[in-house]
Homo-oligomer: 147 residues x 2
DNA sequence: TTACTATATAATAATTATTACTATTTGTCA
DNA sequence: TGACAAATAGTAATAATTATTATATAGTAA
């Protein structure tokens, strides 16, 4: 993994905040720094617990809003739980998904090319892998137009 | 998309239920059929609302348990919201994820090969795509041993 | 520096989603 | 048919997410 350069990331953080007229508050800074050094993809509550060490009075709501503003700034990605609730699919045949980041629709698509994407051998050895999932993210036809 | 053959799927459903000693109840049948014909990856609550039309007295809990038993039988996939809560990642550089289906850890990994996987042009045209995400699922080193 | 103002914050409440519990009912098999 | 393990309805408990509001603060410009 290319080691994340914290200084560089903070520089971009300050820039992006300025661009968007977001104030540089200690809460915002600590939350982003905590995320930068985390390697375990924490939940909002986990970030909240960790940031509390430095800022004991911080509220859950602040962490919540800040995490979302960071994703809007594209400084942070959501790796699990985009939309509200767990969703199911009875189509277990080979197919792939596109997720609309605005309306949260998940749309199926076929792709021979994606079907053929393999699982690297070193990972097969390391983990017991049972599935490969490719997800494309963006804006669907309707949501692209509105933007 | 290869059209899902409902009859074929039901046959497999009955087989798998038998194998596992699961009773064929109307609730189970309706829930699976509802999922088979759905194309929108519904949540438990959405399935519940739909199945209610046929079985007005069905309880949310039944849908909940049944949806999970179907995933355990590998008749149904979870496409969103595997573990409890939303999770964040400040590493926005190129990398990929492995998810442990048992302990729900998400582990980063690098892969030049996956970095190079492209986005099919037809999809580029159809959607406004901003990200490609590859997720491998299985059991991590610790969880593989216990099994 | 100081005063101003838009933004951010803490504290908490409301909503929504998930999971657990128990008494009753229902498939299944002998 | 009758016995019994498994499943269900109804509901309660927990957990996660989102909204609200009064107060505080960062950034700006006199």
């Amino acid at each position: 993994m290319k080691k994340l350069n914290v200084e560089e990331a903070m520089k971009i953080f300050y820039q992006k905040c300025e661009e968007r007229g977001l104030k540089i508050t200690p809460q915002r800074v600590f939350i982003y720094q905590e995320l930068l050094q985390a390697t375990d993809h924490p939940s909002i509550d986990e970030i909240y617990q960790r940031v509390k060490d430095s800022l004991p009075n911080i509220s859950f709501d602040t962490v919540y809003r800040t995490a979302f503003s960071l994703t809007e700034m594209k400084l942070v990605d959501i790796v699990e739980g985009h939309s509200g609730s767990r969703r199911f699919d009875a189509n277990t045949g080979p197919h792939h998904h596109f997720r609309c980041l605005k309306c949260h629709k998940i749309i199926d698509f076929d792709s021979d090319y994606y079907d053929k994407v393999i699982i690297p051998e070193e990972l097969q050895r390391k983990f017991n892998i049972v599935a490969k999932k490719i997800m494309l993210e963006g804006f669907c036809e309707e949501c692209s137009q509105i933007e």
